[in-house]
Protein backbone atom coordinates (compact mmCIF):
# COMPACT_ATOMS: atom_id res chain seq x y z
CA UNK A 1 0.00 0.00 0.00
CA UNK A 2 2.75 2.45 0.96
CA UNK A 3 4.74 1.53 -2.15
CA UNK A 4 1.63 1.97 -4.31
CA UNK A 5 1.03 5.40 -2.78
CA UNK A 6 4.61 6.49 -3.47
CA UNK A 7 4.38 5.21 -7.03
CA UNK A 8 1.14 7.13 -7.61
CA UNK A 9 2.59 10.23 -5.99
CA UNK A 10 5.70 10.08 -8.17
CA UNK A 11 3.49 10.29 -11.25
CA UNK A 12 1.20 12.98 -9.83
CA UNK A 13 3.52 15.85 -10.64
CA UNK A 14 1.16 18.57 -9.47
CA UNK A 15 0.80 17.13 -5.97
CA UNK A 16 4.53 16.49 -5.90
CA UNK A 17 5.12 20.06 -7.00
CA UNK A 18 2.80 21.25 -4.27
CA UNK A 19 4.66 19.19 -1.68
CA UNK A 20 7.98 20.69 -2.74
CA UNK A 21 6.93 24.20 -3.70
CA UNK A 22 4.46 24.95 -0.92
CA UNK A 23 6.95 24.78 1.99
CA UNK A 24 9.46 26.80 -0.05
CA UNK A 25 6.81 29.36 -0.97
CA UNK A 26 5.58 29.69 2.60
CA UNK A 27 9.14 29.91 3.93
CA UNK A 28 10.01 32.68 1.47
CA UNK A 29 6.77 34.56 2.02
CA UNK A 30 6.74 34.43 5.78
CA UNK A 31 10.48 34.89 5.99
CA UNK A 32 10.81 37.89 3.72
CA UNK A 33 7.33 39.29 3.19
CA UNK A 34 5.56 38.87 6.51
CA UNK A 35 6.46 42.24 7.94
CA UNK A 36 3.99 44.82 9.11
CA UNK A 37 6.61 47.37 10.08
CA UNK A 38 7.13 50.13 7.52
CA UNK A 39 10.63 51.58 7.75
CA UNK A 40 10.35 54.36 5.19
CA UNK A 41 7.49 56.52 3.92
CA UNK A 42 7.20 58.97 1.06
CA UNK A 43 6.70 62.53 2.22
CA UNK A 44 5.92 65.95 0.79
CA UNK A 45 6.61 69.31 2.43
CA UNK A 46 4.65 72.32 1.20
CA UNK A 47 4.10 75.90 2.33
CA UNK A 48 6.33 78.91 2.91
CA UNK A 49 8.58 77.20 5.46
CA UNK A 50 8.99 74.02 3.46
CA UNK A 51 12.77 74.31 3.09
CA UNK A 52 13.29 74.91 6.82
CA UNK A 53 11.10 71.97 7.76
CA UNK A 54 12.94 69.71 5.31
CA UNK A 55 16.26 70.78 6.82
CA UNK A 56 14.91 70.14 10.31
CA UNK A 57 13.63 66.68 9.39
CA UNK A 58 16.93 65.76 7.76
CA UNK A 59 18.86 67.07 10.76
CA UNK A 60 16.83 64.96 13.16
CA UNK A 61 17.11 61.88 10.98
CA UNK A 62 20.87 62.32 10.73
CA UNK A 63 21.03 62.54 14.49
CA UNK A 64 19.02 59.33 14.75
CA UNK A 65 21.13 57.68 12.08
CA UNK A 66 18.25 56.44 9.88
CA UNK A 67 16.13 57.94 7.15
CA UNK A 68 12.41 57.48 7.75
CA UNK A 69 10.87 60.25 5.63
CA UNK A 70 11.74 59.90 1.96
CA UNK A 71 10.98 63.47 0.93
CA UNK A 72 9.94 63.36 -2.71
CA UNK A 73 8.13 66.74 -3.01
CA UNK A 74 9.19 70.12 -1.64
CA UNK A 75 6.96 72.96 -2.86
CA UNK A 76 7.05 76.20 -0.84
CA UNK A 77 4.31 77.73 -3.03
CA UNK A 78 1.84 74.84 -2.63
CA UNK A 79 -1.12 74.97 -0.26
CA UNK A 80 -2.95 72.41 1.89
CA UNK A 81 -5.24 71.64 -1.07
CA UNK A 82 -2.20 70.77 -3.18
CA UNK A 83 -0.92 68.57 -0.37
CA UNK A 84 -4.23 66.74 -0.19
CA UNK A 85 -4.06 66.22 -3.95
CA UNK A 86 -0.63 64.60 -3.55
CA UNK A 87 -2.11 62.20 -1.00
CA UNK A 88 -5.16 61.48 -3.15
CA UNK A 89 -2.91 60.69 -6.10
CA UNK A 90 -0.89 58.36 -3.85
CA UNK A 91 2.26 60.31 -4.65
CA UNK A 92 3.16 60.47 -0.96
CA UNK A 93 2.07 58.84 2.30
CA UNK A 94 2.35 62.01 4.38
CA UNK A 95 2.34 65.70 3.53
CA UNK A 96 3.61 68.43 5.86
CA UNK A 97 1.86 71.77 5.44
CA UNK A 98 4.01 74.59 6.79
CA UNK A 99 3.24 78.24 7.37
CA UNK A 100 1.10 77.89 10.47
CA UNK A 101 1.62 76.79 14.00
CA UNK A 102 1.71 73.95 14.60
CA UNK A 103 2.79 72.31 11.30
CA UNK A 104 -0.02 70.23 9.86
CA UNK A 105 0.82 66.65 8.87
CA UNK A 106 -1.71 65.09 6.52
CA UNK A 107 -1.53 61.32 6.55
CA UNK A 108 -2.97 58.93 3.94
CA UNK A 109 -5.08 56.53 6.02
CA UNK A 110 -5.77 54.28 3.04
CA UNK A 111 -2.20 53.02 3.31
CA UNK A 112 -2.92 51.56 6.72
CA UNK A 113 0.42 50.25 7.92
CA UNK A 114 2.33 53.29 6.67
CA UNK A 115 -0.25 55.55 8.29
CA UNK A 116 -0.04 53.73 11.63
CA UNK A 117 3.72 54.01 11.52
CA UNK A 118 3.64 57.73 10.59
CA UNK A 119 1.14 58.57 13.35
CA UNK A 120 3.32 56.74 15.84
CA UNK A 121 6.44 58.65 14.73
CA UNK A 122 4.69 62.04 14.66
CA UNK A 123 3.17 61.56 18.10
CA UNK A 124 6.70 61.82 19.46
CA UNK A 125 6.91 65.39 18.10
CA UNK A 126 4.22 66.47 20.56
CA UNK A 127 2.56 69.87 19.96
CA UNK A 128 4.89 70.88 17.14
CA UNK A 129 2.90 68.82 14.65
CA UNK A 130 -0.85 68.50 14.29
CA UNK A 131 -1.57 65.16 12.66
CA UNK A 132 -4.67 64.69 10.53
CA UNK A 133 -5.42 61.27 9.04
CA UNK A 134 -7.35 61.51 5.80
CA UNK A 135 -9.45 58.84 4.04
CA UNK A 136 -9.49 56.51 7.05
CA UNK A 137 -9.43 58.79 10.10
CA UNK A 138 -9.82 55.99 12.63
CA UNK A 139 -7.31 53.80 10.81
CA UNK A 140 -9.81 50.95 10.61
CA UNK A 141 -8.44 47.73 9.16
CA UNK A 142 -11.84 46.90 7.65
CA UNK A 143 -11.72 50.04 5.53
CA UNK A 144 -8.60 48.88 3.70
CA UNK A 145 -9.47 45.19 3.77
CA UNK A 146 -12.93 45.41 2.16
CA UNK A 147 -11.65 46.93 -1.14
CA UNK A 148 -8.92 44.26 -1.22
CA UNK A 149 -11.37 41.47 -0.37
CA UNK A 150 -13.49 42.49 -3.36
CA UNK A 151 -10.46 41.74 -5.53
CA UNK A 152 -9.86 38.46 -3.75
CA UNK A 153 -13.45 37.36 -4.38
CA UNK A 154 -13.16 38.27 -8.05
CA UNK A 155 -9.92 36.27 -8.18
CA UNK A 156 -11.64 33.30 -6.57
CA UNK A 157 -14.53 33.33 -9.04
CA UNK A 158 -12.33 34.13 -12.00
CA UNK A 159 -9.73 31.44 -11.45
CA UNK A 160 -11.22 28.59 -9.42
CA UNK A 161 -14.90 28.68 -10.40
CA UNK A 162 -14.22 29.44 -14.07
CA UNK A 163 -11.55 26.78 -14.46
CA UNK A 164 -13.78 24.19 -12.76
CA UNK A 165 -16.67 25.08 -15.07
CA UNK A 166 -14.50 24.65 -18.15
CA UNK A 167 -12.74 21.49 -16.99
CA UNK A 168 -16.08 19.86 -16.15
CA UNK A 169 -17.01 20.27 -19.80
CA UNK A 170 -13.79 18.55 -20.81
CA UNK A 171 -14.19 15.78 -18.20
CA UNK A 172 -17.72 14.96 -19.31
CA UNK A 173 -16.69 14.82 -22.97
CA UNK A 174 -19.16 17.52 -23.97
CA UNK A 175 -16.34 19.88 -24.93
CA UNK A 176 -15.41 17.46 -27.71
CA UNK A 177 -19.05 17.35 -28.73
CA UNK A 178 -19.17 21.15 -28.88
CA UNK A 179 -15.99 21.14 -30.95
CA UNK A 180 -17.70 19.07 -33.64
CA UNK A 181 -20.85 21.21 -33.72
CA UNK A 182 -21.19 24.12 -36.15
CA UNK A 183 -20.47 26.66 -33.46
CA UNK A 184 -17.48 29.00 -33.57
CA UNK A 185 -14.79 28.49 -30.93
CA UNK A 186 -15.12 32.17 -30.06
CA UNK A 187 -18.87 31.66 -29.44
CA UNK A 188 -18.16 28.69 -27.15
CA UNK A 189 -15.54 30.66 -25.22
CA UNK A 190 -17.79 33.71 -24.95
CA UNK A 191 -20.75 31.55 -23.90
CA UNK A 192 -18.70 29.81 -21.24
CA UNK A 193 -17.12 32.96 -19.82
CA UNK A 194 -19.96 35.48 -19.90
CA UNK A 195 -21.96 33.88 -17.04
CA UNK A 196 -18.88 33.93 -14.79
CA UNK A 197 -18.17 37.53 -15.76
CA UNK A 198 -21.73 38.53 -14.87
CA UNK A 199 -21.81 36.50 -11.65
CA UNK A 200 -18.47 37.92 -10.55
CA UNK A 201 -19.73 41.43 -11.32
CA UNK A 202 -22.88 40.80 -9.29
CA UNK A 203 -20.81 39.40 -6.43
CA UNK A 204 -18.59 42.46 -6.59
CA UNK A 205 -21.58 44.80 -6.27
CA UNK A 206 -23.01 42.79 -3.36
CA UNK A 207 -19.70 42.69 -1.48
CA UNK A 208 -19.08 46.38 -2.07
CA UNK A 209 -22.54 47.37 -0.82
CA UNK A 210 -22.30 44.99 2.14
CA UNK A 211 -18.87 46.37 3.01
CA UNK A 212 -20.29 49.88 2.96
CA UNK A 213 -23.34 48.93 5.03
CA UNK A 214 -21.70 46.61 7.57
CA UNK A 215 -18.32 48.32 8.01
CA UNK A 216 -19.14 51.90 6.98
CA UNK A 217 -16.47 51.73 4.30
CA UNK A 218 -16.79 54.94 2.27
CA UNK A 219 -17.09 55.09 -1.50
CA UNK A 220 -15.55 58.48 -2.26
CA UNK A 221 -14.65 58.00 -5.90
CA UNK A 222 -16.37 57.48 -9.19
CA UNK A 223 -18.30 54.21 -9.69
CA UNK A 224 -17.10 54.30 -13.32
CA UNK A 225 -13.45 54.35 -12.23
CA UNK A 226 -14.14 51.41 -9.91
CA UNK A 227 -16.07 49.47 -12.55
CA UNK A 228 -13.38 50.03 -15.15
CA UNK A 229 -10.71 48.68 -12.82
CA UNK A 230 -12.91 45.74 -11.86
CA UNK A 231 -13.66 44.91 -15.51
CA UNK A 232 -9.99 44.94 -16.46
CA UNK A 233 -9.12 42.85 -13.43
CA UNK A 234 -11.93 40.40 -14.21
CA UNK A 235 -10.58 39.85 -17.69
CA UNK A 236 -7.18 39.02 -16.19
CA UNK A 237 -8.51 36.54 -13.62
CA UNK A 238 -10.99 34.99 -16.08
CA UNK A 239 -8.07 34.59 -18.46
CA UNK A 240 -6.16 32.84 -15.68
CA UNK A 241 -9.17 30.57 -15.12
CA UNK A 242 -9.34 29.70 -18.82
CA UNK A 243 -5.58 29.10 -18.87
CA UNK A 244 -5.80 26.79 -15.84
CA UNK A 245 -8.57 24.83 -17.57
CA UNK A 246 -6.34 24.28 -20.61
CA UNK A 247 -3.60 22.70 -18.50
CA UNK A 248 -5.95 20.60 -16.34
CA UNK A 249 -7.69 17.38 -17.25
CA UNK A 250 -9.71 17.02 -14.04
CA UNK A 251 -11.50 19.26 -11.56
CA UNK A 252 -8.99 18.26 -8.86
CA UNK A 253 -6.08 19.34 -11.03
CA UNK A 254 -7.81 22.65 -11.79
CA UNK A 255 -8.33 23.39 -8.09
CA UNK A 256 -4.74 22.46 -7.29
CA UNK A 257 -3.40 24.71 -10.03
CA UNK A 258 -5.74 27.58 -9.16
CA UNK A 259 -4.50 27.36 -5.58
CA UNK A 260 -0.97 28.02 -6.84
CA UNK A 261 -2.22 31.22 -8.45
CA UNK A 262 -4.40 32.24 -5.51
CA UNK A 263 -2.02 31.88 -2.58
CA UNK A 264 0.67 34.33 -3.77
CA UNK A 265 -2.07 36.85 -4.60
CA UNK A 266 -3.37 36.72 -1.03
CA UNK A 267 0.04 36.96 0.59
CA UNK A 268 2.10 39.10 -1.77
CA UNK A 269 -0.34 41.61 -3.26
CA UNK A 270 -0.07 44.00 -0.36
CA UNK A 271 -3.48 42.96 0.85
CA UNK A 272 -2.19 41.54 4.14
CA UNK A 273 1.48 42.54 4.32
CA UNK A 274 2.37 46.01 3.03
CA UNK A 275 4.42 45.89 -0.16
CA UNK A 276 6.66 48.69 1.13
CA UNK A 277 7.64 46.56 4.11
CA UNK A 278 8.59 43.49 2.07
CA UNK A 279 12.16 42.57 1.25
CA UNK A 280 13.04 43.69 -2.27
CA UNK A 281 13.70 40.05 -3.20
CA UNK A 282 10.01 39.12 -2.88
CA UNK A 283 8.42 42.53 -3.43
CA UNK A 284 8.92 42.22 -7.21
CA UNK A 285 6.68 39.11 -7.17
CA UNK A 286 3.93 41.28 -5.70
CA UNK A 287 4.28 43.66 -8.62
CA UNK A 288 3.65 40.78 -11.06
CA UNK A 289 0.29 39.95 -9.48
CA UNK A 290 -2.93 41.47 -10.82
CA UNK A 291 -4.52 41.70 -7.36
CA UNK A 292 -1.79 44.17 -6.35
CA UNK A 293 -3.00 46.59 -9.00
CA UNK A 294 -6.70 46.04 -8.39
CA UNK A 295 -6.16 46.71 -4.69
CA UNK A 296 -4.40 49.96 -5.59
CA UNK A 297 -7.43 50.94 -7.69
CA UNK A 298 -10.16 49.79 -5.28
CA UNK A 299 -8.54 51.38 -2.23
CA UNK A 300 -7.71 54.51 -4.21
CA UNK A 301 -11.20 54.96 -5.63
CA UNK A 302 -13.20 53.91 -2.58
CA UNK A 303 -11.18 55.56 0.17
CA UNK A 304 -9.29 58.42 -1.43
CA UNK A 305 -11.72 59.19 -4.25
CA UNK A 306 -8.81 58.91 -6.67
CA UNK A 307 -9.42 59.53 -10.36
CA UNK A 308 -8.59 57.29 -13.31
CA UNK A 309 -5.89 59.76 -14.32
CA UNK A 310 -4.11 59.58 -10.98
CA UNK A 311 -4.27 55.75 -11.02
CA UNK A 312 -3.15 55.39 -14.63
CA UNK A 313 -0.29 53.04 -13.76
CA UNK A 314 -2.41 50.23 -12.20
CA UNK A 315 -5.03 50.70 -14.94
CA UNK A 316 -2.39 50.40 -17.64
CA UNK A 317 -0.74 47.35 -16.04
CA UNK A 318 -4.11 45.60 -15.65
CA UNK A 319 -5.02 46.45 -19.25
CA UNK A 320 -1.76 44.96 -20.54
CA UNK A 321 -2.20 41.90 -18.32
CA UNK A 322 -5.82 41.50 -19.51
CA UNK A 323 -4.80 41.57 -23.18
CA UNK A 324 -1.86 39.20 -22.74
CA UNK A 325 -3.42 36.68 -20.31
CA UNK A 326 -6.94 36.64 -21.75
CA UNK A 327 -5.80 36.43 -25.36
CA UNK A 328 -3.19 33.76 -24.63
CA UNK A 329 -5.60 31.66 -22.59
CA UNK A 330 -8.46 31.85 -25.07
CA UNK A 331 -6.11 30.95 -27.92
CA UNK A 332 -5.05 27.85 -25.98
CA UNK A 333 -8.68 26.98 -25.28
CA UNK A 334 -9.55 27.60 -28.91
CA UNK A 335 -6.80 25.18 -29.94
CA UNK A 336 -8.59 22.44 -27.97
CA UNK A 337 -11.82 23.26 -29.76
CA UNK A 338 -10.42 23.48 -33.27
CA UNK A 339 -7.72 20.83 -33.60
CA UNK A 340 -7.85 20.99 -37.37
CA UNK A 341 -6.37 24.47 -37.28
CA UNK A 342 -3.46 23.61 -35.08
CA UNK A 343 -0.18 22.16 -36.06
CA UNK A 344 0.26 18.67 -34.76
CA UNK A 345 2.56 18.23 -31.87
CA UNK A 346 5.39 15.81 -32.26
CA UNK A 347 4.82 14.22 -28.90
CA UNK A 348 1.77 12.43 -27.51
CA UNK A 349 -0.46 14.62 -25.39
CA UNK A 350 -2.29 13.25 -22.39
CA UNK A 351 -5.75 13.59 -23.92
CA UNK A 352 -4.72 12.10 -27.21
CA UNK A 353 -3.09 9.15 -25.51
CA UNK A 354 -6.29 8.58 -23.53
CA UNK A 355 -8.32 8.72 -26.71
CA UNK A 356 -6.08 6.18 -28.42
CA UNK A 357 -6.32 3.87 -25.48
CA UNK A 358 -10.10 3.87 -25.57
Amino acid sequence: MILKEFRELRRDRRTLGMLVMMPLLLLVIFGYAANFYVTSVKAAVVGPQASQVVALLQQQEQALGKQYFDIVVVEPTDTQADAEQLLQDNTVDVAFVTGGTPIVALVDGSNLFAAQSIVSVLNRAGDKVSTQVLYNPELKTSWVMVPAIIGLILTFIGTIITSIGLVKERESGTLEQLAVMPIKPSTVILGKITPYFLLASLDMVIITVLGMVLFDVPFNGSPFAFALGAALFLFVVLGLGVFISTISQTTGQAIQTAFFFLLPQILLSGMIFPLDAMAAGVRWIGYLLPLTYFTMISQGVMLRGASVASLWVPYLVLAVMAVVVFTGATLRFRRDLAPGRRRRKSSTTESEAQAVAS
Binding site: V180, P182, A355, S358
Partner: protein, 273 residues
Protein backbone atom coordinates in the same frame (compact mmCIF):
# COMPACT_ATOMS: atom_id res chain seq x y z
CA UNK B 1 -23.10 9.70 -50.97
CA UNK B 2 -20.18 7.85 -49.43
CA UNK B 3 -18.10 9.32 -46.63
CA UNK B 4 -15.01 7.91 -44.97
CA UNK B 5 -11.23 8.00 -44.77
CA UNK B 6 -8.66 6.88 -47.31
CA UNK B 7 -5.12 5.86 -46.37
CA UNK B 8 -5.61 7.45 -42.96
CA UNK B 9 -2.44 7.50 -40.88
CA UNK B 10 -2.26 9.09 -37.45
CA UNK B 11 0.75 9.16 -35.16
CA UNK B 12 0.78 10.23 -31.53
CA UNK B 13 4.48 10.65 -30.93
CA UNK B 14 6.07 7.26 -31.54
CA UNK B 15 2.75 5.46 -31.42
CA UNK B 16 1.03 4.65 -34.69
CA UNK B 17 -2.65 5.07 -33.89
CA UNK B 18 -3.92 4.53 -37.45
CA UNK B 19 -1.86 2.90 -40.17
CA UNK B 20 -3.08 3.43 -43.72
CA UNK B 21 -6.73 2.82 -42.87
CA UNK B 22 -9.39 3.11 -45.53
CA UNK B 23 -13.04 2.95 -44.54
CA UNK B 24 -16.07 3.79 -46.65
CA UNK B 25 -19.39 4.72 -45.07
CA UNK B 26 -22.17 4.85 -47.67
CA UNK B 27 -25.39 6.74 -46.97
CA UNK B 28 -28.18 4.55 -45.67
CA UNK B 29 -25.92 1.94 -44.11
CA UNK B 30 -24.29 1.11 -40.80
CA UNK B 31 -20.56 0.42 -40.68
CA UNK B 32 -19.32 -1.03 -37.39
CA UNK B 33 -15.75 -0.70 -36.18
CA UNK B 34 -14.59 -3.44 -33.83
CA UNK B 35 -11.31 -4.10 -32.10
CA UNK B 36 -9.72 -4.37 -28.70
CA UNK B 37 -8.43 -1.63 -26.42
CA UNK B 38 -5.99 0.63 -28.25
CA UNK B 39 -7.08 -0.69 -31.64
CA UNK B 40 -7.64 2.85 -32.92
CA UNK B 41 -11.45 2.83 -33.02
CA UNK B 42 -11.93 6.20 -31.32
CA UNK B 43 -9.08 7.75 -33.31
CA UNK B 44 -10.70 6.63 -36.56
CA UNK B 45 -14.04 8.13 -35.53
CA UNK B 46 -12.44 11.33 -34.28
CA UNK B 47 -10.47 11.64 -37.53
CA UNK B 48 -13.70 11.40 -39.52
CA UNK B 49 -15.31 14.25 -37.56
CA UNK B 50 -12.17 16.40 -37.69
CA UNK B 51 -11.17 16.08 -34.05
CA UNK B 52 -7.93 14.35 -34.98
CA UNK B 53 -5.78 15.61 -37.83
CA UNK B 54 -4.39 12.98 -40.19
CA UNK B 55 -0.64 12.76 -40.70
CA UNK B 56 -1.39 11.20 -44.04
CA UNK B 57 -4.47 10.30 -46.05
CA UNK B 58 -7.78 11.99 -46.78
CA UNK B 59 -11.07 12.48 -45.00
CA UNK B 60 -14.37 12.71 -46.79
CA UNK B 61 -17.07 14.13 -44.55
CA UNK B 62 -19.84 16.69 -44.82
CA UNK B 63 -19.70 20.05 -43.06
CA UNK B 64 -20.17 20.29 -39.30
CA UNK B 65 -23.86 21.15 -39.77
CA UNK B 66 -24.47 17.71 -41.31
CA UNK B 67 -22.47 15.63 -38.80
CA UNK B 68 -23.84 14.03 -35.67
CA UNK B 69 -21.13 12.86 -33.27
CA UNK B 70 -21.75 10.95 -30.05
CA UNK B 71 -18.60 10.77 -27.92
CA UNK B 72 -17.71 7.74 -25.85
CA UNK B 73 -18.56 9.66 -22.67
CA UNK B 74 -21.99 10.78 -21.47
CA UNK B 75 -22.86 12.87 -24.52
CA UNK B 76 -25.20 15.16 -22.61
CA UNK B 77 -24.97 17.94 -20.04
CA UNK B 78 -25.56 16.40 -16.62
CA UNK B 79 -27.09 19.51 -15.02
CA UNK B 80 -29.60 20.08 -17.83
CA UNK B 81 -32.90 18.27 -18.17
CA UNK B 82 -33.59 15.93 -21.07
CA UNK B 83 -35.58 18.62 -22.86
CA UNK B 84 -33.01 21.34 -22.17
CA UNK B 85 -30.26 19.13 -23.60
CA UNK B 86 -32.24 18.55 -26.79
CA UNK B 87 -33.20 22.22 -27.05
CA UNK B 88 -29.62 23.44 -26.58
CA UNK B 89 -28.25 21.23 -29.34
CA UNK B 90 -31.21 22.03 -31.59
CA UNK B 91 -30.51 25.72 -31.08
CA UNK B 92 -26.90 25.27 -32.20
CA UNK B 93 -28.14 23.65 -35.42
CA UNK B 94 -30.80 26.30 -35.93
CA UNK B 95 -33.77 24.03 -35.22
CA UNK B 96 -36.24 26.21 -33.35
CA UNK B 97 -39.94 26.93 -32.85
CA UNK B 98 -42.51 24.46 -34.16
CA UNK B 99 -39.85 22.42 -35.96
CA UNK B 100 -38.05 21.91 -32.66
CA UNK B 101 -41.26 20.98 -30.83
CA UNK B 102 -42.06 18.35 -33.45
CA UNK B 103 -38.52 16.99 -33.67
CA UNK B 104 -38.10 16.83 -29.90
CA UNK B 105 -41.38 15.01 -29.50
CA UNK B 106 -40.47 12.56 -32.26
CA UNK B 107 -36.97 11.84 -30.94
CA UNK B 108 -37.94 11.49 -27.29
CA UNK B 109 -40.90 9.33 -28.27
CA UNK B 110 -38.69 6.99 -30.30
CA UNK B 111 -36.10 6.81 -27.54
CA UNK B 112 -38.72 6.17 -24.86
CA UNK B 113 -37.74 9.33 -23.03
CA UNK B 114 -40.96 11.32 -23.46
CA UNK B 115 -42.02 10.69 -19.87
CA UNK B 116 -38.73 11.86 -18.40
CA UNK B 117 -38.24 15.04 -20.41
CA UNK B 118 -38.07 17.13 -17.21
CA UNK B 119 -35.56 14.84 -15.52
CA UNK B 120 -31.95 15.92 -15.19
CA UNK B 121 -29.56 14.01 -17.42
CA UNK B 122 -27.52 13.09 -14.33
CA UNK B 123 -30.59 11.36 -12.91
CA UNK B 124 -31.07 9.09 -15.92
CA UNK B 125 -29.91 5.48 -16.04
CA UNK B 126 -26.87 4.70 -18.20
CA UNK B 127 -29.01 3.36 -21.03
CA UNK B 128 -31.40 6.31 -20.94
CA UNK B 129 -28.48 8.73 -20.97
CA UNK B 130 -27.01 7.10 -24.07
CA UNK B 131 -30.40 7.22 -25.76
CA UNK B 132 -30.61 10.91 -24.88
CA UNK B 133 -27.13 11.43 -26.32
CA UNK B 134 -28.21 9.64 -29.48
CA UNK B 135 -31.37 11.75 -29.73
CA UNK B 136 -29.27 14.89 -29.34
CA UNK B 137 -26.96 14.03 -32.24
CA UNK B 138 -29.98 13.13 -34.38
CA UNK B 139 -31.84 16.39 -33.78
CA UNK B 140 -30.67 18.03 -37.03
CA UNK B 141 -31.05 14.91 -39.21
CA UNK B 142 -27.33 14.52 -39.91
CA UNK B 143 -26.06 13.02 -43.15
CA UNK B 144 -23.14 11.40 -41.32
CA UNK B 145 -23.68 9.88 -37.89
CA UNK B 146 -20.56 8.93 -35.93
CA UNK B 147 -21.17 7.00 -32.70
CA UNK B 148 -18.37 6.06 -30.33
CA UNK B 149 -19.40 2.91 -28.46
CA UNK B 150 -23.02 4.02 -28.03
CA UNK B 151 -24.03 0.79 -26.28
CA UNK B 152 -21.05 0.17 -23.99
CA UNK B 153 -22.17 -0.26 -20.40
CA UNK B 154 -25.83 -0.27 -21.40
CA UNK B 155 -28.26 -2.98 -20.29
CA UNK B 156 -29.39 -5.54 -22.91
CA UNK B 157 -32.87 -4.04 -23.36
CA UNK B 158 -31.49 -0.54 -23.89
CA UNK B 159 -28.93 -1.99 -26.30
CA UNK B 160 -31.77 -3.34 -28.41
CA UNK B 161 -33.49 0.06 -28.27
CA UNK B 162 -30.29 1.82 -29.28
CA UNK B 163 -29.66 -0.56 -32.16
CA UNK B 164 -33.20 0.07 -33.36
CA UNK B 165 -32.58 3.83 -33.27
CA UNK B 166 -29.31 3.39 -35.16
CA UNK B 167 -30.88 1.28 -37.91
CA UNK B 168 -33.79 3.72 -38.18
CA UNK B 169 -31.28 6.53 -38.71
CA UNK B 170 -29.58 4.56 -41.46
CA UNK B 171 -32.94 3.67 -42.99
CA UNK B 172 -33.75 7.37 -43.17
CA UNK B 173 -30.59 7.91 -45.24
CA UNK B 174 -27.82 8.67 -42.76
CA UNK B 175 -24.36 7.18 -43.20
CA UNK B 176 -23.57 5.63 -39.82
CA UNK B 177 -20.09 4.77 -38.53
CA UNK B 178 -20.11 3.31 -35.05
CA UNK B 179 -17.54 1.62 -32.88
CA UNK B 180 -18.64 -1.19 -30.64
CA UNK B 181 -17.24 -3.80 -28.34
CA UNK B 182 -20.31 -6.00 -28.88
CA UNK B 183 -19.59 -8.28 -31.80
CA UNK B 184 -23.22 -9.37 -32.18
CA UNK B 185 -24.00 -5.74 -33.03
CA UNK B 186 -21.17 -5.64 -35.52
CA UNK B 187 -22.43 -8.80 -37.22
CA UNK B 188 -25.74 -7.05 -37.85
CA UNK B 189 -24.09 -4.03 -39.50
CA UNK B 190 -24.02 -3.73 -43.29
CA UNK B 191 -20.27 -3.61 -43.13
CA UNK B 192 -17.70 -4.07 -40.43
CA UNK B 193 -14.09 -3.05 -39.94
CA UNK B 194 -11.83 -5.09 -37.69
CA UNK B 195 -9.02 -2.92 -36.31
CA UNK B 196 -6.00 -4.01 -34.33
CA UNK B 197 -3.26 -1.63 -33.24
CA UNK B 198 -4.25 0.88 -35.88
CA UNK B 199 -4.41 -1.50 -38.81
CA UNK B 200 -7.37 -3.03 -40.60
CA UNK B 201 -7.36 -6.80 -40.15
CA UNK B 202 -10.54 -7.41 -42.11
CA UNK B 203 -13.45 -5.46 -43.53
CA UNK B 204 -16.62 -5.89 -45.52
CA UNK B 205 -19.93 -7.49 -44.68
CA UNK B 206 -19.92 -10.26 -42.10
CA UNK B 207 -20.28 -12.74 -44.95
CA UNK B 208 -17.27 -11.20 -46.72
CA UNK B 209 -15.16 -11.30 -43.57
CA UNK B 210 -16.14 -14.88 -42.84
CA UNK B 211 -15.42 -15.91 -46.45
CA UNK B 212 -11.99 -14.26 -46.42
CA UNK B 213 -11.02 -15.87 -43.13
CA UNK B 214 -8.47 -18.57 -43.73
CA UNK B 215 -7.53 -21.31 -41.31
CA UNK B 216 -9.59 -23.39 -38.92
CA UNK B 217 -11.00 -22.92 -35.44
CA UNK B 218 -11.45 -25.88 -33.13
CA UNK B 219 -13.25 -26.26 -29.84
CA UNK B 220 -12.26 -28.47 -26.95
CA UNK B 221 -11.64 -28.75 -23.23
CA UNK B 222 -7.99 -27.78 -23.53
CA UNK B 223 -5.52 -26.26 -25.95
CA UNK B 224 -2.70 -27.97 -27.78
CA UNK B 225 -0.92 -24.63 -28.29
CA UNK B 226 -2.03 -22.23 -25.55
CA UNK B 227 -0.57 -19.23 -27.40
CA UNK B 228 -3.10 -19.79 -30.22
CA UNK B 229 -6.10 -20.41 -28.00
CA UNK B 230 -8.78 -18.48 -26.10
CA UNK B 231 -11.54 -19.40 -23.71
CA UNK B 232 -15.16 -19.21 -24.82
CA UNK B 233 -17.47 -20.06 -21.93
CA UNK B 234 -16.67 -23.55 -20.71
CA UNK B 235 -14.62 -24.53 -23.75
CA UNK B 236 -11.38 -23.43 -25.32
CA UNK B 237 -11.14 -22.39 -28.96
CA UNK B 238 -7.94 -22.72 -30.91
CA UNK B 239 -6.80 -21.31 -34.24
CA UNK B 240 -5.05 -23.37 -36.84
CA UNK B 241 -3.48 -21.68 -39.87
CA UNK B 242 -3.91 -23.04 -43.36
CA UNK B 243 -1.78 -26.12 -43.82
CA UNK B 244 -1.76 -27.00 -40.13
CA UNK B 245 -3.48 -30.18 -38.97
CA UNK B 246 -6.15 -29.19 -36.43
CA UNK B 247 -6.75 -31.24 -33.31
CA UNK B 248 -10.23 -31.20 -31.77
CA UNK B 249 -13.70 -30.45 -33.06
CA UNK B 250 -13.69 -28.06 -36.00
CA UNK B 251 -16.37 -25.38 -35.60
CA UNK B 252 -17.78 -22.59 -37.74
CA UNK B 253 -16.15 -19.49 -36.24
CA UNK B 254 -18.31 -16.55 -35.24
CA UNK B 255 -17.12 -12.95 -35.44
CA UNK B 256 -15.53 -13.08 -32.00
CA UNK B 257 -13.45 -16.10 -33.05
CA UNK B 258 -12.47 -14.38 -36.30
CA UNK B 259 -11.45 -11.14 -34.57
CA UNK B 260 -9.38 -12.97 -31.94
CA UNK B 261 -7.75 -15.28 -34.46
CA UNK B 262 -6.82 -12.40 -36.78
CA UNK B 263 -5.44 -10.41 -33.84
CA UNK B 264 -3.32 -13.39 -32.74
CA UNK B 265 -1.95 -13.80 -36.26
CA UNK B 266 -1.17 -10.08 -36.48
CA UNK B 267 0.61 -10.05 -33.14
CA UNK B 268 2.56 -13.16 -34.08
CA UNK B 269 3.67 -11.46 -37.30
CA UNK B 270 4.61 -8.31 -35.41
CA UNK B 271 6.97 -10.21 -33.07
CA UNK B 272 10.51 -9.89 -34.46
CA UNK B 273 11.96 -13.30 -35.25
Amino acid sequence: MTYGVRGATVRFGDRLALDDVTVEVPSGSVVAVVGGDGAGKSTLLRALVGEVVLDDGDVSAPGAEAIGYLTASAGSWAALTVQQNIDFVAGVYGVTGAALEARRSELLGRAGLADVSDRLSSQLSGGMRRKLGFSMVMVHRPELLVLDEPSTGVDPVSRIDLWRLVTQAAASGAAVLMSTTYLDEAERAASLVVLDRGRVLAQGSWDDVRASFTGTVTSGQGAVRPEWSWRRGRVVHEYWAEGEQPTGDVIAPDLEDVVIALSLVRRREAVPS
